[in-house]
Symmetry: none
Subunit: 220 residues, 4 copies
Amino acid sequence: MGSMNSSSTDKIREKKRQFLAREQRIIDKALQCLLRAGIDQVTVAAIADEAGIGKGTVYKHFQSKSEILARILLDYENRIRVNMDQGIAAAEAGNPGAMVKAYFHSRLSNPELDRLVQQLEERIQDDPLVAEQIAELHAMRRATTERIGVMVQQLIERGVLEEVPPHYHYLACWALAQGAVDVCFNKGFADQFSDKEDLLRFITGIGVTMGNKGQLRGAD
Amino acid sequence: MGSMNSSSTDKIREKKRQFLAREQRIIDKALQCLLRAGIDQVTVAAIADEAGIGKGTVYKHFQSKSEILARILLDYENRIRVNMDQGIAAAEAGNPGAMVKAYFHSRLSNPELDRLVQQLEERIQDDPLVAEQIAELHAMRRATTERIGVMVQQLIERGVLEEVPPHYHYLACWALAQGAVDVCFNKGFADQFSDKEDLLRFITGIGVTMGNKGQLRGAD
Amino acid sequence: MGSMNSSSTDKIREKKRQFLAREQRIIDKALQCLLRAGIDQVTVAAIADEAGIGKGTVYKHFQSKSEILARILLDYENRIRVNMDQGIAAAEAGNPGAMVKAYFHSRLSNPELDRLVQQLEERIQDDPLVAEQIAELHAMRRATTERIGVMVQQLIERGVLEEVPPHYHYLACWALAQGAVDVCFNKGFADQFSDKEDLLRFITGIGVTMGNKGQLRGAD
Amino acid sequence: MGSMNSSSTDKIREKKRQFLAREQRIIDKALQCLLRAGIDQVTVAAIADEAGIGKGTVYKHFQSKSEILARILLDYENRIRVNMDQGIAAAEAGNPGAMVKAYFHSRLSNPELDRLVQQLEERIQDDPLVAEQIAELHAMRRATTERIGVMVQQLIERGVLEEVPPHYHYLACWALAQGAVDVCFNKGFADQFSDKEDLLRFITGIGVTMGNKGQLRGAD
DNA sequence: TATGAATGAGGCTTCATTCAT
DNA sequence: AATGAATGAAGCCTCATTCAT
């Protein structure tokens, strides 16, 4: 009986594992489709085909197409958060630039993906079917902002950064990263640079120093 | 006969004028719809309604829906170019920051519109129906970049700006502006700042000084 | 100019006429489908096919499938109301049974249809897409009930009918008619009678006298 | 060996008992779902959930969803038949109204259920998967009709009832009961009466006397 | 010339049923 | 024997585009 129990438990576990694996597979394949074909061309049917499963199966794992997209969004934001944690730890260990570097690295190391995620967010932002997930995304961002805010505040007090509301610095970073990604993949700029890495390095350099005190002259 | 001729010419001219006026009206109303309802909600029918004409008439002026959107895109880019011309003139007259300021002002003075245009570009980027217009857009950008490149080159030579390929500076500006707009309208950041204008001023300030020599430390 | 105007007015009128004609055609064909194949087999595609038009065209006339069904419902109830008006007129002219006869005649003269309408009502009763039409249906019924109520009240006062709330008599009629229709088309009773007309005549006879004073003995 | 045999027989019996118990549980829970949520909202998955078993298990007991519904139908008709048996017995014992009363009581004592059953019948009437069960239902009704027919014939001969084919009286009863149930639950009549019980009592009273001789005047 | 009715491909989603474990 | 993940046919609806008037 004991062994039977444990074997049946094993079986259930194995099933759960497989189920989750398939869920991940759907996510992965969906992402693959999205990156390849662009957001508008990807249908639930296409995702199912790519994953080698039936359309109906997709709906065993996700309540709607938007939910798949939301999941990609959250996974991505999570990965950024983890990277930021490391950056913050390094910053607290005395390397003040580490945080910003970590941030830019997170977002620019795979700019195709970052850009896709930007587009996904626009697309599902107002879909009531994923209101909850969107709220979660926003909560994650808020948490990140707050943790960064503390550090930024210290840098302001130490006279390193401009005295503006602390999250301005974060938002400016976010903006620059966001735009950097757009530049990389905007087809109109494709012929403007031969070395994407080099450009991103330049922009990251800007990100690391921007907002430093004494560097701003008045805008109109 | 002469007067008849001239009157018939007048008639034709008047018709042309009316035709073009209507075309502009369609563009304007389409833009109005897009800004009001968001890119996904706007149908050709809605545009025609808003313009007070029939759907069929829209297709007398534009070959496809994408063409309307492309037209908005081009109009916008054109307006930026005009502004840049003034900025460049001022820069040549001895005000080196004027160009960057002009650029940021063009893009951030109406961020809702800038953001919409970003989205439009994503949407129609690969649509073969407007391949030509997209090419034109890219050509405009290239022209702008080149003209800026000349000035930037001078600033580099005068030791004001970092010695990187000249268009890097432009692309960084583009990126920061692009991202600034995203920050403004990302709902997840809505509660992070109370005064959009203030934030944009801060970011514009960054834009004006970024890339200045002596401000960059190496990114990884 | 005058004749041009009138001819263009004519054209518009003709178009409207055609449009309404097609709308009616859709209703008619939908009804035909429903009667032939049963409510569950009828899809929007089937209706469109039957009417010889595209699926999309159906949606130019009706906002949803339910709206088609609701329209059939309302048309039918309207026809009953018109018949009732005549019956009430006759009743006021001194033929007290005329009203009930008119009612039964309305409902039993085409029992297939009546039964279908019953089913339709069940089906769309709670569909929010036709909440308005359902409300209208109920309003029509309420109006009918009230007008009948006045007459029934008189008959009660004259001692012809049982002294119960007046609309009880109407509701009992409605119930008997409703059930009579079910009997006619319930396949389980198909072999119980050879002459449907004869049975309905018998039941109508019951309807005309039921509720008359002195005929009721207590139910448990 | 003997005792082993008997114990294995016991086991088999126990299993059968459990199997049948579960089957009944499925029926009960299905009915519960149907009454709660309405016929359109109930899926096989919902029934299985409610019964606390897997979907697959449901299909060990029933070949199709329709079969479950058919079973509910037959159970209900059976219960009516049992009640009728008692009513007939009472009628034979000298209480001629007992039969009709029994019938109405069977159908109107739980009108929600009766209405549901009506709807089920409509729904599965033509489903080939349950053709057999539908035939059985019809056979049961025919049997009931015939047994009643004998009594009605006697009442006709004694001059109590109108001289029409005997089952007309039964069918009229069926119709009135059927319609009474519809009245109760038609939302359009919801505001026409405050006391459902009172209305049903009135209608039952009609049912008991209808068809009695001397009460009919000719319908058209 | 302007119109808008007609079109139908194509998207999303549901759910009865099957079948490998 | 029981399970529930997988299936895919089928339904409803949208909307860019066409074309007869």
